[in-house]
Symmetry: C2
């Protein structure tokens, strides 16, 4: 929270999601890409919405990402998002590209809107062609009233996820109630710079494209790009924010007096989704939060946080409730940031375990008990400046190996 | 091998190690740092030897590394190496530094040589002080004849290793027989830019310090720095090469006509040790070799190779004998190298699994059978240039999690 005033103006609604903002509906169904679970979902706005997106940095961007980015580039507006799970439509060549266009075209026809107003996105196995007969049949049925449900949408986007991820906030802008809702999926192949994750955020705010994109990029760097499950950056990651303006506030820009309130609301939504993705990391039993304070730059703080949260040795130690601070210090030490060993302080929860270059005296039993909690917080104080960053991840368990040794075959 | 002639001149001796070169002896014993296993070892040369070392890039360098580097800087010669396992003497502050100096001083006194001619090094748990009473008692006994044995040395340097790692080669320089022998330890916390590993190489070659260091750095970048087990770079990594000149060849320099033979011999020793460390990665069941060809630069080839060999998803897939080429392509895609997706070709063993941006037709059963072998080779052809690199690692298994969830406590 950037200021005290903004806190009182932001209402957090844990049970709501993408259809809380005015003018949105969502739905989901089983079309047959997966054996049984839901695999096709949509969000539709009553009117075209201003859109901003951030995408994977992987060179091998999946076909739907190429199609969606091209479409958004036309006039920075979309009215609908179509998602399938179970198949990533990645590394699928010309046919994959054609399939992504066909998904867009088919759903636009059902909605009676222009094709470029439909964003398409996919998640699942890489390198297999979509079963387009099933997808096309699904597209013809998905707008049927029995499929309309925010819950069905949230279920339809999942892969190895064990739970749905949602959050919404309500804020006041120009005396109007503005809502921001989000839903996400993501569990494996999660790493900074976009994860194997999809994030969908809707708002009824009235906001200019360039400002929405500015806010999304800034917030993403502090939230989605600060989580890791396994260090693998997927081909399909995407976060889309739609803003349809139905809240009728004066258009938000960086100069608007309540700009900070909007951005804080967007950050709460993205941070909540990011943490839920980290907690639901494949095989994870715990959410791990690494806060780095006292860095000489924000990038240095991020680098140290990411290095620790990505360390397999730190992750397995936390799984084993082992207060192995040496692995935390080691991971900080190879982050590439010029730390000063004698200034470093490391705490696990309320317990100081390392200070001034030396191990602290602490109760192994107490720290072990703390590590049994479902959320583990590590604080690393560099004492070199005043910049901070927070990274989120999870522990590394037998189940991670199990899930990933046999995901595909 | 750089040239056909050098192959015929290099004899590889798999059963020999650091005492094959003239004038070296080695030994090991149990002094009490560990409960039962050997934990103190030495190598001694009859005469002071030219030395070259490479060290961890971790900011938190352990005390013995600081002491050894300072000593070597005096005149680039050492005559002895003292190693303990079971305790890394890292993050131990002033007392740790004093303990490292005391180890050096004590062993120098036993040998009757100057203190700076003794290199000290440690491996094991971080953040605990050495039990110096036990170490000092050990130092007084270790030169006893019953402890003198190359095998005991190789055992004394191990931690979570499941086997000793050794290799030796014999070459001809100026018509003289020159030997190079090596022993190493390393199993976890293994990553490019030096791993939790110690490597000890001895040779009786006559060679100038600066040329030995040049050769070691170049060879290390192609061998020890191309292995990974878990992406964690330790505080204690070190490779030392001693060259005592007893082979009586003319002094080797980069201009010596047989320079390439020496360098190739050194490379064979280092590559063999590096592969043995990767194969013995904690919990590993397989050695994985990733060869990258056709890169526009050697650094690009290395970056792609390291990215693939470090991917938890690739490593678990190999453990599960899953021909999941999508994860290999994905890891190449986030390496940071500007690849051209449509030029990429990926092979698993003799089977092409991805070509021209598309999956190839292959027999899942045959590739699965190949993945059951103890050595798995992945070839990635970028088709962007003529540079190559090879990286080595291992699979990620339940046992890795087991070992690291409970290593310390």
């Amino acid at each position: 929270m950037t200021q005290a005033t903004s806190i009182s103006e932001i209402v957090i609604l844990n049970e709501d999601s993408v259809t809380l903002p005015k003018g949105y509906k969502a739905g989901g169904m089983h079309c047959g890409i997966k054996k049984k679970r839901l695999d096709l979902g949509y969000i539709v706005s009553e009117v075209p919405a201003t859109v901003a997106g951030v995408y994977t940095t992987n060179i091998f961007q999946a076909a739907p990402l190429l199609v969606t980015q091209e479409s958004i580039a036309k006039d920075n507006k979309i009215q609908a998002i179509l998602v399938n799970s179970g198949n990533a439509n990645a590394c699928t060549g010309e046919q994959g590209l054609k399939d992504a266009y066909d998904m867009q075209k088919g759903f636009a026809a059902e909605l009676g809107i222009q094709e470029h107003l439909v964003a398409v996105t996919s998640t699942g196995v890489i390198g297999e062609l979509l079963p387009m007969d099933k997808v096309n049949t699904g597209i013809k049925q998905i707008l049927d009233i029995e499929n309309e449900s925010e819950l069905l949408f949230k279920q339809a986007i999942l892969t190895t996820d064990t739970c749905i991820k949602q959050i919404a906030v309500q804020i006041q802008i120009d005396g109007k109630s503005v809502s921001i809702g989000g839903a996400a999926k993501g569990s494996g192949m999660i790493h900074p710079n976009m994860a194997t994750m999809l994030g969908f955020v809707t708002t009824d705010a009235n906001i200019a494209h360039e400002d929405l994109l500015f806010a999304l990029k800034d917030v993403t760097n502090q939230t989605f790009n600060m989580i890791t499950v396994d260090g693998d950056t997927s081909t399909n990651d995407m976060v889309l924010v739609m803003a349809n303006g139905l809240a009728e506030n004066n258009q938000l820009t960086k100069e608007h007096p309540e700009w900070d309130v909007f951005k804080e609301g967007l950050k709460i939504v993205c941070e909540s989704l990011a943490k839920k993705i980290a907690r639901d990391g494949e095989g994870a039993t715990k959410l791990v939060e690494v806060q780095v304070d006292g860095a000489f730059s924000a990038d240095a703080a991020k680098a140290v946080g990411k290095s620790i949260i990505s360390s397999n040795l730190v992750k397995t130690a936390i799984y084993g409730t082992d207060p192995n601070w040496g692995r935390i210090v080691t991971a900080a030490g190879y982050s590439g940031v010029p730390l000063e060993p004698n200034k470093l302080k490391v705490s696990i929860g309320p317990f100081t375990v390392f200070e001034n270059g030396l191990p602290s005296t602490f109760s192994e039993v107490e720290v072990k008990e703390y590590l049994e909690l479902e959320t583990v917080k590590i604080l690393v104080e560099l004492n070199q400046g005043d910049q901070s960053a927070t990274a989120w991840g999870c522990d590394l368990t037998y189940d991670y190996v199990k899930i990933n040794a046999s995901y595909r075959t």
